[in-house]
């Protein structure tokens, strides 16, 4: 579905990614964890196309998308839920979802309806400005916006960040069921290890711009791993 091979990204002269590789298949959830500043967000931005890679390749569905602009990648089935949600200010909840739905004109409306069924909170706020929603609701909206485009691969950047636990749980349940129901491939970047372990089939630890190792989800809470790869 999605495969990333040894990509390099730099901010100016400072390298931020030094060759991480990654592959995710349909219906699979792969999580990437790691300390602040190791390059998790940079990795997702490079995959969606907001940052230019200097070497390496990104394939989506067997097609090379490495040189395509972000909007072309989105149109080919990459959904992006950024860190900090990035709800379009001034647009209503409905309009935010329709931006996503514009990607698949034929079934967009049906996908929006599906999102509203998955996240009933959004239906209650349908005509309200998206940027006036609570953090949890904005996260659901950002997810809904991506899902309304009918993506094949979803990139999630810290969806649990700054959200109250009950909502985190709700969002986690939805992500898992949607991935299963639609055969959606998901790359889940997280600092909340528990959340990542509950959802992911595979977990990778990132360190200084590269993927350092894989850990089995059931072992992720072990003290030595938490200490070695995640503690500040």
């Amino acid at each position: 579905m999605l495969s990333v091979a040894e990509i390099h990204v730099a901010y100016g002269r400072t390298p931020a990614l030094t060759g991480p590789s990654l592959a995710v298949g349909p219906g699979e959830i792969v999580s990437i964890i790691g300390r602040n500043g190791v390059g998790k967000t940079t990795l997702l931005k490079a995959i969606i196309g907001l940052l230019r890679v200097t070497s390496g390749t990104i394939h989506l569905d067997g097609q090379d998308v490495t040189r395509l602009p972000a909007y072309e990648r989105a149109r080919r089935g990459l959904g992006y839920v950024p860190q900090g949600r990035m709800i379009f200010a001034g647009l209503t909840v409905e309009e935010n979802l329709l931006i996503g739905a514009d990607l698949s004109p034929a079934i967009g409306r049906a996908l929006v309806e599906e999102v509203l069924t998955e996240f009933p909170h959004l239906r209650q706020r349908y005509r309200q400005r998206g940027d006036t929603l609570s953090g949890g609701e904005q996260q659901m909206l950002a997810l809904g916006r991506a899902l309304a485009g009918g993506p094949k691969v979803l990139l999630l950047d810290e969806p649990s960040e700054g959200i109250q636990p009950s909502i985190v749980e709700e969002i986690g349940t939805r992500i898992a069921s949607i991935s299963r129901a639609r055969g959606l491939a998901i790359v889940l970047v997280e600092q909340n290890i528990e959340f990542a372990a509950a959802l992911a089939q595979r977990i990778y630890v990132m360190e200084k711009g590269r993927i350092a190792r894989e850990i089995p989800p059931e072992r992720v809470m072990d003290e030595d791993i938490v200490r070695d790869y995640l503690a500040v």
Binding site: Y71, G90, E95, I99, D102, A146
Partner: protein, 310 residues
């Protein structure tokens, strides 16, 4: 004040507001949506007027056909300029401003070479109507209707269409818009073209009442900028509120003399005096002073002030 005088004053205020709206709308759109200060906007206005001139004089088309062509032609010019020049300079506001200044000079030169540096008139068939003791040009009512139509059109376009939704998303967050599948370079191009087209429409509709000359844009660009700056960041609300406030003052001071200043010299009957107020000249000075006062009170412009308070 008698009823017909009151009516004529109201009409003149409406006319001042109309002209400011026509001048400012395209500029406000480009500035509000793209954060670009387009110094070539005055020449887009000029290009609109010359499109009408060309259509009527040289192609012998009806006036209204020329007026419909003008926004399309100028939108095309705008799109070409965005693609060739401005696109390369996004994220560098100062360079964009300089580039549009260059475009402005280039367009003036080009139009002068083609049409010559003479002032030309465009004849039109409308007359006057009677308001009590006064007669008033019918064409001004047409202009107000067009200005209102353009504002409504822009409102509907941005509020209720897929294009408008994408344009607003792009302005709110270009990176996220692109990641959500919006072809953002295309949105910028179309928005710029739309702003240029609106200036073209303004130039076309005003062509019959002003002298059509290659440097005409220069005459109007200042008032357009003043209206946009006083209006602030929200395109339609800003333009309308600012044009209303400034147009109101301009029309009032243009019509009514405030006081007289006595001057030296020999007059019959003496003494010699200048009227302050009561002419278009003082109307524009009042507009400028009022704009400066408003900006001291509301540095973010009228719409910026309201947005902060909410």
């Amino acid at each position: 004040m008698s009823l017909d005088t009151a009516a004529i004053v109201v009409l003149e205020i409406l006319n001042s507001i109309t002209i400011l709206v026509l001048l400012a709308l395209g500029l406000a759109l480009i500035f509000g949506m793209m954060r670009i200060v387009n110094l070539a906007q005055g020449e887009f206005f000029t290009a609109g007027a010359f499109t009408v001139l060309t259509a009527v004089r040289f192609a012998h088309l009806p006036l209204w056909v020329g007026m419909l062509l003008a926004p399309l032609v100028v939108a095309g010019i705008g799109i070409a300029i965005e693609r060739l020049i401005i696109r390369r300079l996004y994220g560098r506001p100062l360079d964009v401003m300089l580039a549009t200044w260059g475009v402005s000079l280039l367009l003036i030169g080009l139009i002068t070479v083609i049409f010559g540096a003479v002032t030309q008139g465009i004849p039109f068939a409308l007359g006057n109507f009677q308001v009590g003791r006064y007669s008033y040009p019918e064409y001004r009512i047409v202009m107000t209707t067009v200005a209102a139509g353009l504002m409504l059109g822009v409102y509907v376009l941005f509020r209720y269409t897929a294009f408008g939704r994408r344009a607003r998303a792009t302005i709110a967050n270009p990176e996220m818009a692109s990641a959500a599948g919006i072809n953002t370079p295309r949105m910028f191009m179309l928005t710029f073209g739309l702003g240029a087209g609106l200036a073209g429409a303004a130039g076309a509709i005003m062509a019959p009442i002003v002298g059509v000359v290659p440097t005409m844009g220069v005459l109007y660009i200042a008032r357009a900028f003043i209206t946009v700056v006083v209006g602030g960041p929200v395109v339609l609300v800003g333009t309308l509120s600012s044009a209303s406030a400034l147009g109101f003052i301009e029309a009032l001071i243009s019509r009514f003399s405030l006081f007289q200043i006595e001057t030296a010299g020999h007059c019959a009957p003496p003494p010699c005096a200048i009227n302050i107020g009561g002419s278009a000249f003082f109307g524009q000075i009042a507009l400028l002073i009022f704009a400066i006062l408003l900006l001291r009170l509301l540095p973010q412009g009228i719409s910026g002030f309201w947005r902060q308070r909410r």
